[in-house]
Every structure is written in structure tokens, then in C-alpha cells.
Symmetry: C2
């Protein structure tokens, strides 16, 4: 009950502990498929471990293939509606780079791989993060098919990003990505919908 709690002044946003041992930051990932499989693998492991929704994300240097940061959905684990996989990845990448922009002059360009089409929040955040390319696996309709809402994202939303130098690729390794969503549904995972209410399925 909120009445028992004082006002809050800080929030801690963390990856689950299993990620630390799971992710290989030392390897370079030259191929787009390998990059996407980092994101899908995180989504898959996130639901296997019960640490959040069926979504994973990873940020790479576009040219070198260095894995800069990763994210997994942490909404239920952290009781924080803003901690989608992409949001965690953006924040961790910016912390690593030491800047609120991944698009600083004289630095390598960065790109995001996400296991699913970004929701309205994450698409806006992508623009502010400074990544210059977004590649996602499952489509909006795949997320909606298992009960998730993606929010106000329209064709013009993508056009807006394109006009600002951000490329997008949709449906990349879609079947592999969608399989994680379907597994989440089959295992009865929590879906937090647009009305903000949790639904145990």
C-alpha cells in the first residue's frame, strides 16, 4: 500500500544475475544473424528463468561487431513498467560509452537488435539513444497475437525515424523470434496490457 511507503528518490535498474554468465562480450559478431540470435537467445532464456517477458535486445557497434550492451524485459521482476529489453540495453550502452548519445561525432555507429518490434516507448527511446539502425525479429502482430499491446506506433513513426537517419529492418529471423513468444504463451506467462493490468494467462 502506497500509504505506508515514503516518497522515493531513486530506482535501480538491473539485469538479472544469470545474464552476467550467459553473454559472451569477448566474441565479435560479424553477421546480422549472429547479432539477432543474441537478442532472441536472451528473450528465450528470460522466460526459461522466469525473470520477465519474452523480449531481448542487444546493441552492437555496427562495423566492428562488438557487443556493447544487452537487455531483457524486466517489468515484472523490477515492478517497473519502463524496463523493456530495449530500454535496459540503451541505458547500459550509454553507461558503458559514458554518454547520453551513442551517436557522438568521431565514435563508431551503433545498432540495436531486438527480438520483437519496439513498442511506442522503445521506438521513441531508440531515436534519443543515437543508434542508427534497428533490426527486429517478431512483428507487432506477433506480440499482439499473445496479448501484448505495442502502443501508438504507425507507418509514419518509422518514416519519422528514417528521416532522421535511423534505418529499420523488420521481421528478421521472424520465425525464431516468434517461437519465443509462443512458448511464453504456452507456459502461461504474465501479459501486462494497455490497461496497465496484469493478466495471468
Amino acid at each position: 500500500m502506497r500509504w505506508d511507503r515514503p516518497p522515493m528518490h531513486d530506482v535501480s535498474v538491473t539485469l538479472p544475475a544469470w545474464v552476467v554468465g550467459q553473454v559472451d562480450y569477448a566474441t565479435r559478431y560479424p553477421a546480422a544473424e549472429a547479432r539477432m540470435r543474441v537478442a532472441i537467445g536472451l528473450a528465450s532464456e528470460n522466460i526459461a528463468r522466469g525473470t520477465g517477458g519474452p523480449f531481448g535486445a542487444a546493441i552492437f557497434e555496427r562495423e566492428s561487431g562488438l557487443l556493447v550492451a544487452v537487455g531483457v524485459n524486466a517489468v515484472t521482476r523490477l515492478n517497473n513498467s519502463t524496463v523493456h529489453a530495449e530500454m535496459l540495453a540503451f541505458q547500459l550502452a550509454e553507461k558503458r560509452v559514458g554518454s547520453y548519445s551513442l551517436r557522438a561525432e568521431g565514435h563508431p555507429e551503433h545498432e540495436l537488435f531486438s527480438s520483437c518490434a519496439p513498442c511506442a516507448m522503445c521506438l521513441g527511446a531508440a531515436l534519443w539513444s543515437g543508434v542508427t539502425k534497428l533490426t527486429f525479429g517478431a512483428l507487432r502482430e506477433d506480440a499482439e497475437a499473445i496479448g501484448f499491446d505495442e502502443g501508438p506506433v504507425f507507418d509514419e513513426s518509422y518514416a519519422y525515424l528514417h528521416a532522421r537517419g535511423v534505418e529499420t529492418v523488420a521481421g528478421f529471423l521472424r520465425d525464431e523470434a516468434r517461437a519465443v513468444l509462443e512458448r511464453y504463451q504456452a507456459q502461461g506467462g504474465t501479459v501486462y496490457n494497455a490497461e496497465g493490468r496484469a493478466t495471468d494467462r
Copy 2:
């Protein structure tokens, strides 16, 4: 340089220290004007103290007028592009309530006051937070007039929220809210634009 830094696994999101002494959580705020002036006051103080951009936000219980949580823009202070005023307020409110939704059955409804129209990220986040009303002061064009980009937000974006039970009120105490933006511009505050590059003005 990213090459010197290891991968990151956690991020700390904090209000600046001055907020703790500044905000009166004990008072009830029955009137909308008083609620909005909390948000505008935070924006104003944030630029006076040099702790971020000219944006403030506050979340109230709609009926009781209890101030649940506040936020100020912290992008430059925390080197984190996601920490807009609204995003901080959503996270702190959810932490206080102990849930990823402010719209849980049997609990009071919550509303957001923001000194400026929410960007695309914050508008999406508003939907996920579970607030049932958004009231903002300055308009998109006021933010754009001093160089900020608001991202892909369209009339249909608002319609999308309305269809899901979220009311919006635009331009409330607009002149007071816009005055903070103009003061920020006059004092040469940093504008981080859509291209992700910082511009010292």
C-alpha cells in the same frame, strides 16, 4: 572510451539531491493549477540548479490530491537519454506503490502533470504506467521552438491513448510552462536533438 570500460549490468536512476528538500509531499493538492505548478516549479528549479533540461513532472492520486512521485529531466546529469522527467516520475511512483501498474484494481487512479507535452517515448510510457490522465503545459511547438525534438507523436497517438481510457489535457498553464523553456534557451542550456548529438547553445 568504450574500449576501456567493461560491460555494464546495472544503472542507477536518481533525483538530484535538491529535490528531496524542495518538494512538499505532505500537502494535498486539490486544484489542477497547484498540481501543474509542482511540475513547472521542478522544471524551473532544474535549470536554475543546472541539473538537466527544462522539464518537470509530477504524479498525483486523482481524487485525494496526494503527491505520489516527481521527476525532473536528468539526461545530461546521468548521461542517460531515457531519463526524461516523466520517465523518472513513472518509475518512482511505481516503486512507491510497489507495482508496475498505477492502475491496479481496487487502488486509486493516478494522473500525470508534465510541464511540457510528452515526447514519443514518454507518451508510450504513460500508457504502460497505468495513469488515467495526462495534463501538460507547454506544447510540442514550444519545445521545438527552442530546438528540442518530440519524436513521432501524432494526433492518432493521442487517439490511441483515449481509446484505452487515458484522458489528455494540452496547454494547461501554457504561458508559465513555456516561460521555463524560454529561460533555458536564454541561459544557453544544452539541447540534445533527434540526431542524438548534444548542441551547446
